[in-house]
Symmetry: C2
DNA sequence: TATAGTTGTCTATATCAATAGACAAATTTA
DNA sequence: TAAATTTGTCTATTGATATAGACAACTATA
């Protein structure tokens, strides 16, 4: 009934090239299970017919994905799917990076990219319940799982209360552990706003993405159990590697 | 510290044309407040310099956005921002279309696009706790607010139990009201999985989007208060018009 | 009424994206 | 070994993208 079979939803003159659209389709196909992992992709001619384009266009798409490390092409044999399943990142009342990915990866950790002190912007001040321009500490971090970047986040904390959290973060590699040093042994997610956009230059660099990739963006506020704001943050997830699982919270 | 100033993160040879990237940037600028609503955009030459491209490239981006109804260009005067803010669609334990958008729009409703009976696919069967291939009713709907499409959803219901829900839906224009006819006066969201991708042909048509647009995708299961699965659904939201607000649930 | 600032249109050129066809190179199968 | 299948490379052509420059048309302002 639904889902046209062949010549499947390719848009011309859209500002997005056909090879990029087909690369995205293949990625989606892998994520959804149409193309099994470690198995061969259909041959180039078959894909070309399926999507209603020239074989060379399919080749462009494939070569981009080979470049990204998703596929491996072998002359005479076929093209094989390498990439792992998308991680399912749970978001709930007690959202924690490491515990959330337990069972899906053998290893994960957070890297502190940079830290700085700055006056709070409008939205940060609102989120943390501070006066406009109050000093805040900003931590730029990257989450990695099995060696692949899976998130990139900026977190803001009131500078007065959390002086030294950058050091704690560098040492522990954990937000939860760092906050514990300031007497916060539990915190809850108060709000989360979600959107999506194309990756910008910084995303591409930090998340090892190819131009045109999509990132999921969450903006959230964490509070203590009695409702006191602790952390305002904006996180970016590469849509091709991560999906967000909104758990009952 | 962060965010380069000029020649700001435009990617060449990415498979996404420069005019499309700049159009996306302008949309983002409007959403974030860099470009105020009802005010003039910077002149074309200024934008061209800012993004490090030719004036004609900026013009292509602007003309696409004029086509989308986001901007209005007036010869001799300038180019003006028309579009409304993105709607904030709340997702929580009791996610309801109409009540969720109350206060943000003066009018909203759901249109039933089509309905059919089909054997349950793997994921639908799992979501509803049915045997593979059990008959399910599928409702294709579109959510509209103030005359603009803001969502597009497919919902699946066990055919045996909800025979006639398509008629109920057509008459009431509400999932909640339709389920009430089957004795379900409350239901909760059990799970939600979120992802994002480029809009496909059907999305473009049903949501009145331009090629290259991004859609947020949620896959969710609704259950009765005692945990009995009622509805499995996949919803698509145009990222340029809607953000998802994950409320405490 | 000039003048400056802005969008609109035109021509020209170079590069990227997509199609088309032919054949080579490597692998698997009969 | 021979044939069939599949990826890799090459040439050629067309249309979309992007740059460049010049000037027209319209608006607001000094």
């Amino acid at each position: 009934m639904i889902g046209q079979m062949a010549a499947d939803s390719i848009e011309r003159r859209s500002g997005v090239s056909l090879w990029r659209q087909i690369a995205d389709k293949i990625l989606h196909g892998i994520a959804v299970g149409d193309f099994a992992e470690n198995a061969a992709l259909p041959p180039e001619v078959a894909l070309a017919e399926r999507y209603g384009v020239n074989r060379h266009t399919v080749r462009s798409a494939i070569s981009a994905l080979v470049q990204e490390g998703v596929l491996r092409a072998e002359q005479g044999r076929g093209t094989f799917v390498l990439s792992r399943k998308r991680l399912s990142y749970p978001i709930g009342a007690r959202t924690r990076f490491s515990t959330g990915l337990q069972g899906q990866t053998s290893e994960r950790h957070i890297v502190l990219l940079s830290s700085s002190v700055e006056p709070a912007s409008q939205r940060v001040a609102e989120g943390l319940g501070l006066g406009r321009g109050a000093e805040v500490i900003r931590l730029e971090t990257r989450g990695e799982a099995d060696g692949r970047p899976v998130s990139r986040a900026a977190g803001w904390f009131e500078a007065k209360r959390f002086a030294g959290i950058d050091k704690a973060m560098a040492e522990t590699g954990s937000i939860t552990a760092s906050l514990a040093r300031f007497g916060i042994d539990d915190y809850l997610r108060q709000s989360t706003v979600l959107s999506a956009r194309h990756a910008d230059a910084a995303d591409l660099a930090d998340l090892a993405l190819q131009p045109g990739a999509i990132v999921l963006v969450t903006i959230s506020v964490n509070v203590t159990p009695d409702g006191q704001p602790v952390q305002f943050s904006e996180s970016r997830f590469p849509a091709e590697r991560v999906e967000l699982k909104l758990s009952a919270l």
